[in-house]
Symmetry: C2
Subunit: 549 residues, 2 copies
Amino acid sequence: MNILFIMYDQLRFDYLGCAGHPHLDTPNFDRVAAMGVRFTNAYAQSTICGASRMSFYTGRYVHSHGAAWNGFPLRVGEMTMGDHLRASGMDCWLIGKTHMKADTEGMARLGLAPDSVIGARQAECGFDIWARDDGLWAYGPDGYYDQHRSPYNAYLASRGYDGENPWADYANAAEGEDGQIASGWMFDNADKPANIREEDSETPWLTSEALRFLQQAKGPWCAHVSYIKPHWPYIVPAPYHAMYGPLHVLPPMRDAVEQDAPHPVFGAYMRGKIAAAFQRDDVRAKVIPAYMGLIRQCDDQLGRILDHLEATGEIKDTMIVLTSDHGDYLGDHWMGEKELFHEPSVKIPMIVHDPRPAADATRGSTCDALVEAIDLVPTFVEAAGGTVADHILEGRSLAPWLRGETPDWRAVAISEYDYSGTPHCAALGLTPRDARLFMVCDGRFKLMHAEGGFRPMLFDLANDRHEFHDLAKGDAHDAEIARLYDHLAVWGRRMSQRVTKSDAQIVAARGSSLRRGILPFLVDGSEVPEALTERYRGPVRQHHAKGDE
Amino acid sequence: MNILFIMYDQLRFDYLGCAGHPHLDTPNFDRVAAMGVRFTNAYAQSTICGASRMSFYTGRYVHSHGAAWNGFPLRVGEMTMGDHLRASGMDCWLIGKTHMKADTEGMARLGLAPDSVIGARQAECGFDIWARDDGLWAYGPDGYYDQHRSPYNAYLASRGYDGENPWADYANAAEGEDGQIASGWMFDNADKPANIREEDSETPWLTSEALRFLQQAKGPWCAHVSYIKPHWPYIVPAPYHAMYGPLHVLPPMRDAVEQDAPHPVFGAYMRGKIAAAFQRDDVRAKVIPAYMGLIRQCDDQLGRILDHLEATGEIKDTMIVLTSDHGDYLGDHWMGEKELFHEPSVKIPMIVHDPRPAADATRGSTCDALVEAIDLVPTFVEAAGGTVADHILEGRSLAPWLRGETPDWRAVAISEYDYSGTPHCAALGLTPRDARLFMVCDGRFKLMHAEGGFRPMLFDLANDRHEFHDLAKGDAHDAEIARLYDHLAVWGRRMSQRVTKSDAQIVAARGSSLRRGILPFLVDGSEVPEALTERYRGPVRQHHAKGDE
């Protein structure tokens, strides 16, 4: 079996046809959902690209791998999906984005050359690289945001787009009046078509790269096809720019009560620049149709891949996963972007097609188990025929759900967010290590714990599915809060770093020191079989020398 | 300044003259105590050699570094005392024991050759090796316990002691009737003199190695002189074997109430082979005098080192630390060995001589602050003139206490013990990851939490200083228990793995993405200074090409 692990960036769980969006058709997402299981309660381990992805790729919580924000390097030696899959006999390739920041200091300390195979994999989050493109070729007074070279910009140059950064000037900009660049960074331009031929825009380009990979790949392989879209800049080429308009924009899910004595961290976010922009109806009226267009383009491109797999018959032998690293508030809860833990931000789409006959019974179904992003690596290892290293991997294989079983499962989903790098940390007067948030959700109640001495937030998803009413404002729900804090405490104590010794090795080693002569309990030797002490109870042994006296 | 970091193995905090032992004179320990500060509430991070030492050497909790038991490898890349000190311009040498198990699998994955400088340091816990001798050259049907070669056995061979393992046959055995080997493994033999000239026994040998090091060392250096003694086998050469006798054995600190409905883990330990042996008066009457003789020998050898430092004048420029990796129950609480968290097991001696004038005010004093083993690395880094990497190191420099200040300090000390490798785990029907214990001690109350669904243990050190009365047997102290659990929960959520990014780096990087063109909040560009968007608002720019159409 091969694995096609497709990630979209900032794709909301509910912006898909199969998830019930009333205006957005996604026939190809729906096509995979019909072939597999759509998990309706899947959560990202963090609500920011870098941290979330490092959890996807390591199968470990952010609190375990430590790469808690964009640009925080993943420590050298941390095991990744690639390490686990290669150990199971499966290659692991990257086509697109990871947001991986290499631990160059740690690599230098260990003498790892970035251009060696080992060094390159360490630097690339364990993947072998078909194409790496993180998709944010932003440029400012201090230079490029991304220190890599852009293969997409090289492609655009080869196609005749001029300038140093056609990603910014064409793919993510419209043509303004008088030929000016109308940048996609400005929401005012989100309703314009990107000034690029559709087939040259990012999503089709990456899809073509994926198809090139598929045409030559020898299995077993796992291919991580990882799109930047529908992540901002919110701008899309024709005809997608015009497929949706203000009439297709759902009203914001927000309520005045949310601004009444909000949790201080939520309050700080609601007062931020991003939130202010998304609180404007004119912004939503332009941005959301562009966002929907980007998703629709992703769907069409997904169709190309599915058609290819069907034409070659490979679909019968390919696990397909569609997911995202986090969502997008889009003005809900008075917020833009992501970062906090309301459902539009922390919940992710998770659709899994398992081609094996054992999964036939669940095709086209949904599953409401509490699924976490970290469950994918164990799922893949199992699919590759390997043994899940559960002293390292903190997620659990989804295979039982795919077979229609009901395994014992986690009681809560955890997500984390480290906002130490944001202005809100300074505004709230916090040290970096106090600028950390934890979500604990049991499917019914969702707690947000904030370090730094703040009260928590609590939502009752059953009675307030839009999460307007923060029940931690009063004390009526202290018992629920305490119960979720107990879950968080258990999680905090979890065995997460004993990564060099498996449970099986521990069990097998019991008693081994006894058989290697460690006997710190012998009164006279009668306590153990003679074989273990025969050296000290055997026939009289003459000392030939006691030193050189 | 140089640092002489001396560790004894299994030395109880209260088996020193300066700590008030009524029968055991330790003039040289007392001499250092008179030159410095004796910390009376110092705790080991774990009550077993390997795990405790990995915390000493990394400055991190066991829960953070993961090497939770003897023989669990320290993961490759984990920063050690040597890494931190070398970064501060100080060498870091080992003379003696570490109990380090190299992560050979991780090293192979990263292509690190064990015989390279980097590989050797990774394999040796960050130390450069003057002499490594873990001091347990036990041998049984499955071979040697230690996979290294013993430099001590090589020394003994050079001195004419015969056989393959003179460590076992001479240093840790007496001569029995008819020339038989009377092994030190058997407590029955603990009152006999080891069959070795005193100057050839382990403690003098290692001291001579330390002196050889000192005679040639060029500073600044840190030397970790790490003795196996007074760790078992409990046997000591003449004249030390006869210095103490049954009259010097203190009555066991134990009470029948401890065996009344004990905590299941404590109960399992009390029923074990080791405990059974130490519950016997005849065993204590032989073992404890040998243990005291071993300590007295350590003290005499410490005198050799102090005399050398005084003779050369180096003592004016040398920080000296005397400590141990854990204690020894010696029959107290119906227990032998260590592993649980009563004071005789988890509390450690900690004497620090800081030669700097700023420490003059505290010489000869004691300090009852809650000190942890992990505080030493930061103390050393500060002494070396370096900057404490507090996103990696979890301990805190003791320097303020040494200067007589009263810094804000931790509220609780934490210790941990993983007994997954012991028969008690199986006997209690636990999975390996449930066989974990945590101690939380605030100086007054001490809680033991056991994973696996057990109730906790609680002691009130103020009203029950011998820890006989487990207050968690009833529910009268639920508030104290909850309070200590809250401390444990905070600790569990601590930021322990963000080791690739310092607080200072985070603060310095704030806003940097803005200046690299990441602007996901612009409605029309008016939100930021023109310099940040000039590219998109500058003079009309003609597109020379829109692709190659």
